[in-house]
């Protein structure tokens, strides 16, 4: 019950922010940041540092994510220890940032982390976004629909129109993002149509999100009014 009250007051304290910045919000903010930083400090120790260096999740002794991934990949649990050593050494190099004179050595682990991730994303982007989009963008402008073996005009025109609008959206949008040519004349006009399509996309994304944001506030109100204050049945 006490814990519910604490949660209730914190909820109200944060909500008071929409009225104006005030001491209660400032207090909640400081507690919030302190608790969160402490929480991440502990959890990163138990969930990243310890398990990655020992391959086990700290106290429970369950397999860590990477050990699990390795297990899925190879079916065995053994993971060569010298990888752990490399990780530990790079970790120590990172820590050397705190020493002003040799702080530059921290760029080595940074290069390692950023380089490996960037290499991975290079391929990932190509595979999931560029190549996949090409396949999806090849659409027939005339798409006849057959119902019971005979051509159905209404359905065919509907489907074709859909495809034409889609292809137009793709091509004009690509023109808008083309940087080698100034947006003038026919090219500029096409880019303008591209902007219109982009605006429709942004409007749709905005409209679609309203519902999920309202859901979140409904959830908080439900907590305040039902769980805490018992005003709802």
């Amino acid at each position: 019950m006490v814990s519910l009250t604490i949660a209730g007051f914190l909820t109200l304290g944060i909500m008071s922010f929409v009225y104006k910045d005030n001491p209660v919000y400032k207090l909640c903010e400081s507690i919030f940041i302190g608790v969160s930083a402490g929480y991440y400090f502990v959890s990163i120790f138990y969930q990243s540092l310890l398990p990655q260096l020992t391959d086990k999740i700290g106290i429970t002794g369950e397999l860590s994510d990477s050990a699990l991934a390795y297990y899925r990949e190879t079916g065995s649990l053994a993971s060569p220890q010298w990888f752990n050593l490399i990780a530990a050494v790079l970790g120590v190099m990172m820590l050397l940032r705190l020493v002003p004179k040799i702080g530059w050595i921290a760029r080595w682990p940074l290069a390692f982390v950023i380089g490996s991730t960037a290499g991975l994303r290079l391929i990932g982007e190509l595979q999931t976004n560029i190549m996949a989009q090409i396949q999806k963008s090849i659409l027939p402008l005339w798409d006849p629909q057959y119902i019971d073996g005979s051509l159905n005009m209404a359905a065919s025109v509907g489907h074709s129109l859909t495809n034409i609008v889609m292809v137009a959206g793709i091509l004009t949008g690509v023109v808008y993002f083309f940087f080698s040519k100034e947006h003038k004349g026919v090219f500029g006009g096409t880019a303008k149509v591209g902007i219109w399509f982009l605006m429709v996309t942004f409007g749709a994304a905005f409209g679609l999100t309203v519902m999920s944001r309202m859901s979140l506030l409904i959830g908080r109100l439900d907590f305040l009014l039902r769980d805490w204050l018992h005003l709802l049945g």
Partner: protein, 392 residues
């Protein structure tokens, strides 16, 4: 009555004898069994293929499944290494196989009553891991990579020799105006690198825009506040801002405490940034990088604080919030182009040109596809014409 009894007796006898007989007729074995090392794999797997037993179709006691058997030589005892359902004409044997060891295989066809028959021995097959994936989709991705990387590298080289044209990017002016406004008003600039990690392209773009902003701020002697979400991004931001002050010739003006870490937790981080906005009242806010749900909260609080806001992200949904609530938004690729443009290095300009070539290929492939799909449907097209013209 007696007739009935006799009939019952007879039918019982027939039923018994029938099932007895069928139990003694095991199904026909699979034929044409072949065993081959699985292509494009990490090894320790062998692909088996066969022609299914014709008795899968028979009404009585059909084949219900297959068992894969393996042995080290064709005459040593075979052990099970997996199974396949009826209807399958192949399977991959992998349980316990080792690389660079020859194996022999047999397939057992099982009938519903557990009777079975074995195929001829296939093999030897030696599983090995391959060093290059030759599956078609991997080849296509490789071709795509070589082409795009080629475009970009070619243009980067070309940019080193001659000047390439890039149309003016509207965001550049907005960025400079934002810095100017802060200087005039004597208020700080707030720079948010987003919630992405340091290797995300959007964050990398944020670093280069930050470098530019910090250098101008150092020249104009205003103040730059950079609260960070990711600890690695925080480390790099410190280096970037410090380096920019050094470049501007004012290393002593760099205040380490203005580039700081908050917490790696979306909403506590937001709580802190909200507080900074309302208390410091920055003249200009930059939001460049990867953003999630917090985008709208940033933009609305910044508006309330009276700041000019310039945003750039590659997150589709968040673009819509930035467009609605910020003064200027760099949409997706515009952000990358702006960051390259700001560096003023010819190589960077060349890379934008390379990207454009990629888009031309994308657009022409898509157009080509449309045309070929149209030709394929030409019969339908003519039918439509006929319908319209002859009013059928």
């Amino acid at each position: 009555m007696r007739k009935l009894f006799l009939a019952a007796l007879l039918s019982t006898f027939f039923l018994i004898s029938f099932s007895f007989v069928s139990a003694q007729t095991p199904p026909a074995p699979v034929t044409n069994l072949t065993a081959k090392d699985t292509p494009s794999d990490k090894g320790a797997q062998v692909d088996l293929s066969w022609t299914a037993s014709p008795d899968e179709q028979r009404a009585e006691n059909p084949v219900i499944g297959y068992q894969l058997l393996v042995a080290l030589s064709s005459d040593s005892p075979f052990v099970a290494v997996g199974k396949a359902d009826a209807g399958a004409s192949g399977a991959t044997a992998k349980d316990g196989l080792k690389n660079d060891q020859s194996y022999y295989f047999k397939v057992r066809a099982y009938a519903a009553d557990s009777s079975f028959s074995e195929s001829e021995v296939a093999g030897p097959a030696t599983p090995t891991g391959q060093w290059w994936n030759t599956q078609p989709n991997y080849i296509w991705i490789f071709v795509g990579m070589v082409m795009l990387v080629g475009f970009i590298l070619y243009n980067i080289r070309k940019a080193g020799k001659e000047e390439l044209y890039i149309r003016p990017i509207a965001g550049i002016n907005a960025i400079d105006e934002g810095i100017g406004r802060a200087t005039e008003m004597g208020k700080p600039i707030l720079y948010i690198c987003g919630l992405g990690d340091a290797a995300q392209a959007a964050t990398i773009a944020a670093f280069s825009v930050l470098g530019r902003v910090a250098q101008k701020v150092a020249q104009y002697q205003s103040r730059l506040i950079v609260p960070c979400y990711d600890p690695i991004v925080f480390s790099i931001c410190q280096d970037v801002v410090k380096g920019a002050y050094l470049n501007a010739g004012r290393p002593e003006a760099y205040n380490e405490k203005d580039v700081f870490f908050v917490t790696q937790d979306q909403f506590p981080y937001m709580a802190a940034v909200n507080g900074i906005m309302l208390r410091e009242k920055p003249a200009t806010n930059f939001y460049i990088g990867q953003f999630y749900a917090e985008s709208l909260m940033l933009a609305e609080t910044g508006f309330q604080a009276g700041s000019i806001q310039i945003a750039g992200t590659d997150q589709l949904i968040q673009m819509s919030f930035f467009i609605v609530a910020c003064d200027f938004t760099l949409i997706g690729e515009e952000m990358y182009a702006a960051s390259a443009y700001l560096s003023k290095e010819p190589e960077q300009i060349g890379s934008i040109k390379g990207q454009d070539w990629g888009k031309v290929v994308f657009a022409s492939l898509s157009l080509l596809g449309v045309v070929s799909a149209l030709l394929e449907h030409k019969i339908g097209f003519f039918e439509m014409l006929k319908k319209v013209l002859l009013a059928e």
